[in-house]
C-alpha cells in the first residue's frame, strides 16, 4: 500500500516551547551549535517561528509556527535541481529524502527551497567530550559541507518497517511518528498518511481552517497548518512589504 505521509500542525495549540526542535535534534544526531553559528548558520530541521499580526504593542498578537520540510508532493523544487540525485522522493512514502553521502554541497537545493527547510553543515559536527555517547544509533551523523533536512525521521520509519515485517504486516501510518510529533506536549503536531481519509492530516486537508504555506506556487506541500485566527492565515501567502518591519522572531 502506497503511503503519502503528511502532517497537520495546530498553530492555536503551539506554545512555542521548542520541544519539537530539540527532540528532532536528539533523534537525528544534529550537533549543538558551533559558537560561530547563528539563526542563519545553525541546523534546525524543524524550526518554530514566532509570527505576529504586524501591529505594535498593545495590539500585537503572536503565534508560533513550526516550519519543517513541507515534503512537497508535486515537482518539489529541491528534487529536480540537485545535479547528482542526492534528493530522492520515496515513491512508497512520498517522503522527500536527502542523501548526505551523495551530496557535494553545492547548495542549489537550498536556494531552490522557498521554505528554508534545508540546512548546510558549515562546520564539522562537534559534540562536547562524552556527549557523543548519547547519539542515536539509528542515524548516521553528517559531515561538514553537505546539506541535510527533515526526512520525517527516516530512522524511525525504517525501524517501523522492520517491526512490521517482523510481525508480518505491511507498514501502516500509525506504526510510527516522527520525534517532533512524539515530543509535542500539547499535541499540536499530528502525523499520518494522507491516503487514509481518517488520518489526522487527511482530516486537516478537508478542514476549512487549514492552510498550507505558499500553496500557489504549486508544490503541493504535505504539511497542513490550522488556525481559527484570520491573521494567522495570512502567513500562507506571499510576504507583504507593507509589514516589512519586524514581522517575526524565531
Amino acid at each position: 500500500m502506497i503511503a503519502r505521509y503528511g502532517m497537520t500542525i495546530d498553530v492555536d495549540r503551539c506554545t512555542g516551547c521548542g520541544a519539537c526542535m530539540v527532540a528532532c535534534a536528539v533523534e537525528n544526531n544534529v550537533p549543538p551549535a558551533h559558537q560561530g553559528a547563528n539563526d542563519r548558520k545553525g541546523i534546525t530541521w524543524i524550526r518554530v517561528f514566532q509570527v505576529n499580526n504586524g501591529q505594535d504593542y498593545p495590539n500585537r498578537r503572536s503565534a508560533f509556527v513550526p516550519v519543517l520540510c513541507q515534503q512537497c508532493g508535486k515537482d518539489a523544487p529541491c528534487a529536480s535541481v540537485c545535479p547528482q540525485q542526492a534528493v530522492e522522493i520515496d515513491p512508497a512514502t512520498g517522503i522527500v529524502g536527502q542523501m548526505p553521502e551523495r551530496c557535494l554541497g553545492c547548495r542549489y537545493c537550498m536556494a531552490a527551497c522557498p521554505y528554508h527547510a534545508r540546512y548546510f553543515n558549515w562546520w564539522d559536527p562537534a559534540w562536547p567530550a562524552g556527549m557523543e555517547k548519547t547519539l542515536n544509533p539509528d542515524v548516521a551523523p553528517r559531515m561538514r559541507g553537505v546539506v541535510e533536512k527533515c526526512n520525517f525521521c527516516h530512522g524511525r520509519w525504517h525501524a517501523a518497517i522492520e517491526r512490521a515485517a517482523a510481525n508480518g504486516r505491511s507498514i501502516q501510518a500509525v506504526d510510527y511518528v516522527p520525534a517532533c510529533v512524539e515530543a509535542c506536549p500539547t499535541g499540536a503536531i499530528q502525523f499520518g498518511d494522507l491516503n487514509r481519509p481518517e488520518s489526522a492530516p487527511a482530516r486537516a486537508a478537508r478542514n476549512g481552517n487549514s492552510f498550507r504555506l505558499l500553496e500557489k506556487i504549486g508544490t503541493d506541500p504535505k504539511i497542513y497548518y490550522r488556525s481559527t485566527k484570520d491573521w494567522v492565515h495570512r502567513i500562507s501567502s506571499a510576504p507583504a512589504p507593507g509589514l516589512g518591519k519586524e514581522r517575526s522572531r524565531g
Binding site: 549543538p32 517561528f49 503572536s62 544509533p137 506536549p185 524565531g250
Partner: protein
Amino acid sequence: MNTTRRDLFKFVGGSVVGALFTPAPWRLVTDTALWSENWPGIPRPARGEIRTKFTHCALCPAGCAVRARCVGDQPVALAGVPGHPLSHGALCAIGLTAHHLPYHPSRLKQGPAGEAAQAVSAAISKCGPAQHAAVLDLRPGRTASWTYRRAMASVKHGLYLAPPSPFGGSVAFDLHQAKTVLSFGAPLLDGWGTPGNVIAARENFRLIQAEPLESRTASLADLWLPIRPGAEEALAQAIANVLADGKPRSPFAAQTGLTEQQITSVAEELAHNGPALVLDGGQIPAVMELNRRLGSLGRTIVARRETPVPESWKKAAPVTNLASVPDGSIRVLLIDESVMDAYLPWSMIERKLVPDDPLVVTFAWSRQGYARHAQYVLPAAVYPEIFDDIPPAIDSVAAVFRIAAPLVEPPAGMVNPSEFIGGLAGLPAADALRQRADAIHQAGRGTLFTCAGAKSVPVKEVKPDDFWKALNEGGCWLDAVDESGAGHRFLWPANADDEKRSSAPPEDLPLVAITCETRAAAAPLSPLMSKLYQESNLRLAANHAALNPATARACGVGEGARAILRTHCGSAQIEVSLDSGVPPGVVKVAAGPGIMDLCGASARAQVVPA
C-alpha cells in the same frame, strides 16, 4: 633486449588504459565518497541492546515522568510517559535534552569536600549568639529537605531556610475545577506547575492573562490584558472594587492602563463564570483577597496533605522563610542548588549574611549559579545522575511521592549534599528515601502508578519491597484526595521583598526591566538548547534584551547593539534587539543568574550604550 624510455612510456600508458577496463578504478572512485562520509572527526554512534528505563525529571518542581531510551545503560533519548496521572506524557525542551547534562562542558568535576567540612564546623563554632549556621534549600519538601531540617535541629545555631513560598502551607491550585482563570503574569502555559497537567486542564477553563508583556501565555490566552508594569496589585484592587460595589475605584483603574469597561467585564466574568481562580507570579496579598472574595478557597485553591514521613523525623528544625530572617545574622550558609525550583536574586540572600567574612558553601553542578559568590563550591550530581525525590508541584491536588532514579552513574568525586549536611550532625542520610517510602507504605493511603504497564494499584496491595522497587523504576505514589482539606487555614503571604514596589521610581532608572525565560536561570541547560537560544530566535537567550524601537532610540541603542543594563543592584552587559511588541519604557530581558541577581522578577532599570 634494452628498454628505452619510449618503451617505458608505452608500458605505463598501456597499463593505465588497461586498468580502466578493470573494476578497480571505478570501485576506488565510489569508495572515496564512503571515505568522506566518515572522516576522523565524526563520532560513530555506539550500538547495543535497546532498553527502556523510567524515572522522574528533577529539573523543576513539576517532576514529569520520563521514559528513557537507552543503548545498553546509556540513555540516548528521553520522552514523556503517556497516560501518567500527573504529567500526562508531556516533557518540556529542557527535560527532553537532560540526558546530555552529565557531559556539559561547564560541569564541575571535583571540589574540596573535606576542607569545606572542616571550615564549616570551624565557622559554626565561631557563631555568635544571634548568628546562625543555615542551610538554604531551594527545593523544600524533599526527603533531603527533611534530612537538612533534622541536621539543623541538632547543629548549634542551626537554621533551615526555604525560599518564600505562597501561603506558607502546602496548598494546591486545582486547574481542573476552574472555569475562569485570571493570571497575573503567571507563566501558565510556559512551565508553570506541571505542564502536562495544565495542558490537560486547559480545554476546560477560560484564561485571562494580565501581564505587561505579550508572553507565550498571553499570546495563547483567551484574553490578554496588557497592563502597565507593576500594576498587578492595582488591577487586583480594581477588580475587587467592582466585585464589591459594581465599579472600579478610580486610582487603581487609572494605574492599570486598562479602561474601566475592560476591568468591569473581567470582574463580571470572574464572578459569573465560576469557579474562578486568580494566580500570580509573586505573592500579592490583593490577589489572595480576590480569591477569597470569589470563593476560590477550598474549590480551586485547596489544601494538600503532607506526604507521610517517619515519626522519628518529626524532631526537625522548622521551615524558616528566608525573607523573615533578620539581615546580617547568618554566619554559615550552605546552599543546595543541585536542584532548584527558582533562582533567588543573590542580593536577597546576601543581605542575610553577617558582614564580617561569612562562610558560603554551595553544592552545585556548575559554577554558573551561587557558586560565583561562594568560598567553597562542592560538585553535586546532576539529573539524571541524582537520587532524589521531587515534592508535589503547585498544581497537584494530592500528595505525591516520586523518585528521580539515576539513569547513569554519577562520576567519582561528587558530593551528596544530604550526606554532607547530615554528616555535620552525624545523621546517616544514605537510606532516607527508603525510610520515607516505608513510612508512606505504612500509611497505606493512595495508589501506586507504574510506568511500565501504565496502571495504578492501591498501595495496600503492594508489598513494601515491591513498593520501593516500583518507585525506583519510575513508579509514582499518589495520595487519596482528602475532603477535609476545605477547612484548611490559609496564611496570607508575607509582604515580601519591598524594594520591588518601592513607590516613587528614581528618575535615574527610567525603565522597568522585566525578566523572561526565568526557568532557564534555574535549570541546567543541555548544549543542544542552542537550537532554541542561538540557532533560532525562538527564545530570548540569556543576557539578551528586547526593547520597543522608540525606547531603544531614547536610550541610544539599536538592533544588535551591546548595551549596559543598570539597576539598583548593579549592572550587566546585554545585547539589544528591537521588538515593537514590547511596551514603551520596558526592557524585556532574558534571565541568566547574572540578570536574576540584577533584576529579580522585575526592577527599575536603565539602559545605556556599552
